[in-house]
């Protein structure tokens, strides 16, 4: 078994109750469950946009309370549900994170755009001129610019059409193959979870109801709750 990179120990926060999770290096963990089950709250805990009321979180074996928050956020990158791009250009967005840490190398801009399948000519394009799918891909590249060890994705394709969903998924598959990335992703789309993930965690009312390997877990759910969820999705 590979190294435990992230560990949540007996976490309570808002709806989340007694959450225990171990994330191993290279895992592609898919979080799914009904709306309001606490998936996004859980994801925000990994990036410390939120903190638990009770319980401990360990990143690389060290309690996250003892780590520098900005460095942790750089290493545990989050892509939000909406792209929320900054003004003005694509390039401004790509260099935002690295510039915070004085780590911007202009030569990397092209590679970042290649990851998300956008041409180099997009670098100077104002973000207002991008389509919804392109914005989300720039948002993904912006997070990747920080060279995170863990990539958190909060339903990045939920607002996109089928063609854009396919494109982003392909970007993610390429990324995972070419980078040593650990991925934790919230998704409503169970087929997407099977395509992208190797582990699944099913949440309901803030509790982990079932977890296992993908795609088996979704093809042969053990609990009634997950059976019902898979039938309805």
């Amino acid at each position: 078994m590979s190294q435990v990179i992230y560990k949540l120990d007996n976490i309570y926060r808002r709806i989340l109750t007694n959450i225990n999770i171990e994330i191993h290096k290279g895992d592609r963990v898919m979080l799914f469950g009904p709306s309001g089950s606490g998936k996004s709250t859980l994801l925000h805990l990994f990036n410390r946009l939120d903190d638990p009321e009770q319980g401990s979180i360990f990143y690389n074996g060290k309690n996250i309370n003892e780590q520098d928050i900005t460095t942790l956020r750089k290493n545990v990158g989050l892509v939000l549900q909406q792209p929320y791009l900054f003004p003005e250009t694509v390039k401004d967005n790509l260099m935002y994170g690295p510039k915070l840490f004085n780590d911007w190398n202009p030569d990397e801009a092209r590679t970042l755009l290649e990851y998300v399948n956008l041409p180099e000519s997009y670098l100077d394009k104002p973000v207002d001129e991008l389509s919804g799918g392109e914005k989300q891909r720039v948002s993904l590249a912006r997070t990747l610019a920080n060279k995170p060890e863990i990539l958190l994705l909060d339903e990045p394709t939920s607002a996109l059409d089928d063609q854009n969903i396919e494109q982003i998924e392909q970007d993610l598959i390429n990324l995972i193959q070419h980078n040593d990335l650990t991925v934790i992703m919230v998704t409503h789309n169970l087929e997407q979870a099977k395509r992208l993930g190797n582990r699944g965690i099913y949440l309901e009312n803030g509790k982990i109801v079932e977890e296992g390997l993908l795609p088996d877990m979704l093809d042969r759910p053990e609990t009634e709750a997950l059976k019902n969820f898979t039938t309805n999705h």
Partner: protein, 256 residues
Amino acid sequence: MERDVSNFSLLVLIVFVMIPFTISYFYQLGLKKDILWSSIRGAIQLFLIGLILTYLFNLNPFIGIPIMLSVMITIATFHARKKGKELPNVFITILGGLIVIEVFVLALWLGFDMVSFTPEEIIPMSGMVIGNSMVAMGLSLERMKSEFSTNRGKILAALSLGATPKQASHLSVRRTLNAALIPNIDQLKTIGLVQLPGMMTGLILGGVEPIVAIKYQLVISISIFSSVSVSAIIVSLVMYRFFYNERMQIVDLEEV
């Protein structure tokens, strides 16, 4: 000033009040009570302040001026803080800001002999500075809350990439400052062209030479311009911190 407005003439002002009152009546604007109440209240307030000023003007300036300035700053603070009651430390920030501004302006006026240390000059001119700063602080607070609400997603994105609260707030702070400073700059650009400023008008009506009135107006206009700018800067640069907790997480205003 030798000329006076007779009490009869003041009574005739009721005609001016009756115009908006009648409009409200015919168009059923529901403002009749507000119009009457604000007119009566305004008149009473002005007469009372007239009595207080007469009393203060006869006191030793070193007693009268500090008393009046303290009262003005306190009232202005209570008024401006209404715009940001949800935020912590808003009262102390505004109070501190107004004191700093007033001390700075007084130092400049007195240090360069622009204004003499008499209640007749210091109190009305300080009133204008404090009043305008109060409005600027209130507007900046409102604008800042709206910017943080509108840009919440962008702020979250910035924080998630490793930005500090200061870096994540940069856009909101910049927009707040812009919103506060641009009307101020525009006002200064058109001064005397669109309307004759209040202080100058008052001095000319009081029989002062227009060129002397203009000099005083310049002193007050530039002082107000600078105070309004400093007010917006104080609110923006101090208050943004209260939108975050010590763990660099954005907090809901309801939770503050």
